[in-house]
Symmetry: C2
Subunit: 427 residues, 2 copies
């Protein structure tokens, strides 16, 4: 199933798809060489937006929470990728501690955790779940709606190691994005592998750094393919220490909105794209779609803030923001706006799913309450890309392109974490 694109089949995305397919061996070799120099972030999920005229990641989640939406068919790929990852990081690994989100888990999240447990058990690890939530003092059994259950235990620190009661892991996989802070228990774990590293968590991570790295990666990738990197990169500027209650700050932000809108409109003109440009204003240091403001004209900003300011979860008081070219999603499943999410394990694309939202328009964020999920289900015999098919009509070809762009985002995350590593030595 290729979701319906309202853009013409001859649009830039189809040219891009064709270019990507033709260059497959060169692209795979390029990634292979990149991964020799840069370490993947163990796992990730990447939200993409396909506007027909361009295709770009809008969120590179280093603590993915949607592996339950993967179809059963692709789980063997995830197991194989996990095997390859473990072999590289710590081949003698026996015990894996999976640290879960601190917020109260819903049934979907528990199902996601069960999927991760299955994957890592089959990859050859004893997996147990721990939480950093200090209110959890003893093991608790959580039940899913379908009757399955899992046990979550308090994470304990003993000297220089963390673990659970009677469970000493050599590898710790964080699925808590640390939004609630970095507990002291996690610091200075020099004897164990902590993946991803602490600075991948939101207390330290910044979207602007990811965006810089992504632009750098795309510039080189676009050179390889002889194409305009704009087809993959949303224009982005950062504005630090913005207090939305101060008129002066709002004016400065309006100026940035204008910068992004003008850049975008210039490109629209170059490409003959008949679209209304808009921007998304997002916090630089958090991953929440309901703190995103969409703005079509800088002069509307004060009014939008007045109208939506209270209902959004945009931080009150000075905060860092980014202003990013808005990418509409013209993919639809049964007339509902959809955006693909690609799941990665180590350097491999292991599958994906669509996020759909009946109550949202193509130029709005979909990752908000009410979203539903549809596995990127392929008809049998259709998983590998098929060079030679008409661009835009083959699901495997489309998904191959999505996988390439998601890997560009994952590679950018590697660059980003290298550049922001607080323990990196100065060169």
């Amino acid at each position: 199933m290729v979701p319906h694109l309202t853009t013409a089949l001859s649009g830039p995305i189809n040219e891009l798809e064709q270019r990507v397919l033709e260059s497959m061996p060169a692209i795979e070799r390029w990634f292979r060489l990149e991964w020799m120099e840069h370490t993947p972030t163990f796992y990730a999920s990447v939200d993409l937006r396909n506007a027909g005229y361009k295709l770009a990641p809008v969120d590179t989640n280093l603590f993915p929470a949607g592996f339950n939406h993967l179809s059963e068919e692709v789980l063997p790929l995830a197991v194989q990728a996990a095997m390859a990852a473990i072999e590289k990081i710590c081949p003698e690994a026996k015990n894996l501690l999976l640290v879960v989100q601190r917020r109260q888990p819903d049934s979907f999240y528990l199902s996601h955790l069960l999927t991760l447990v299955r994957i890592f058990t089959m990859a050859g690890l004893n997996v147990r779940l721990g939480t950093l939530d200090e209110t959890v003092q003893e093991a608790q059994t959580l039940r899913l709606a379908d009757g399955r259950s899992l046990q979550i235990e308090p994470v304990l620190r003993q000297r220089s190691r963390i673990g659970l009661k009677d469970f000493d892991p050599c590898t710790i996989l964080l699925n808590d994005d640390l939004s609630a802070g970095i507990p002291d228990r996690l610091r200075a774990l020099h004897e164990q592998y902590l993946l991803p590293p602490l600075h991948a968590g939101w207390p330290l991570r910044r979207k602007r750094h990811h965006q810089q790295a992504y632009e750098e990666v795309c510039k080189r990738f676009a050179k390889l393919l002889g194409m305009d990197p704009w087809l993959l990169v949303p224009a982005t500027v950062a504005q630090q220490q913005v207090d939305l209650n101060q008129a002066q700050h709002v004016q400065a932000l309006q100026a940035q909105v204008d910068v992004v809108l003008s850049r975008t409109r210039r490109k629209f003109k170059d490409y003959g794209i008949q679209e209304n440009a808009f921007v998304a204003i997002k916090p630089d240091a958090a991953s929440c779609s309901d703190c995103v403001l969409m703005v079509r004209d800088a002069k509307d900003l004060p009014e939008i803030l007045a109208r939506h300011g209270a209902s959004t979860r945009l931080p009150q008081g000075p905060c860092d923001l980014i202003v990013q070219e808005g990418i509409p999603s013209y993919e639809r499943i049964h007339d509902t706006v959809a955006e693909p999410v690609v799941c990665l394990m180590d350097r491999f694309v292991v599958g994906g799913y669509y996020r759909v939202h009946a109550g949202r328009q193509e130029n709005e964020a979909l990752n908000v309450p009410g979203a539903r999920y549809v596995p990127l289900a392929f008809a049998q015999g259709a998983q590998l890309p098929r060079p030679g098919e008409t661009p835009g009509v083959s699901a495997p070809n489309r998904f191959y392109m999505y996988g390439v762009v998601a890997r560009l985002a994952m590679l950018a995350a590697s660059y980003e974490l290298e550049a922001t590593d607080p323990e990196a030595e100065e060169l």
Copy 2:
């Protein structure tokens, strides 16, 4: 689909299946550690025979020729495994030369080659096909029944490298088992990766070495699982320089047949197995199922030789033989005897298929003209093993066990090639 087993569901194989499933993380970790020390043979296919009371590989093919029988669904696993293999062997690899069998290819073999080309292209290599056949002087285009075609070119030697016209590969993948001899062109290729190495070809390879290595691997694996290695290992003895035209040699061979039959009957008694023991006599240095003689009683051997000697392809004149415990195959697909074949790429199981033969009995070789092939097709959502299901009724669980035994055979091939490497330094 689990082919029907005529043995009771409570038989030893189901106990083995249960033990294997329960020990999954330990097994995967054991393999992971083994593969740190031993290099997989790049690719292989392993023919298994499931007798209900035991399960054993009967042929570990290091030049597999049945990848066309894999279902489309598992090809992404093969691509991912190929990526991991290339990354380890030669990450900067760009061009791959695939050296095809010298014998006249049929449509099935061409389809197999096309599958390999697809897999390695998608793993990021430029793939071209070459032949060592000296009668091929220029590129020839071969057409398949379905209209697809491929081009095969003569392999050229230039100084210390081989390649094709205008194609200089860094890696050469042999799919020719070298039965027709090792051409000088392939010797002393110190600048290129030749996979598998020359001594994996039949001019140098011996089944008895593989069997020794397999017994060693199984002894250690059985210890890990606390089980009798006999459940996985067919009793085997070797007899060298046998001339079947000399009565004295035939008598010596009869004595070996007796040795294997007695060992097998003793085990049948221990386990209470109601079966008629038989042996398979095979050449030590070739992979052809139609040179296999099945013998139920040593005293029948002269008569069998007189009756079948001329019609089999057993070598005339002195040759090395092995006498191996015969493993009946009690799997059936639609009342036809079937045996599973597991395909491996690098250290990963990527899929499998069943070889079925309507004209053969459960105690005969199936890899002879007239065999048909059925992909090990799994219903959607059923590929990963499912701990907790009743042993013997779950296809993914059965296939997981097959994958484990096939990997034991692949690991044995690594041990074997290390032990027989003519260039290995003496320790």
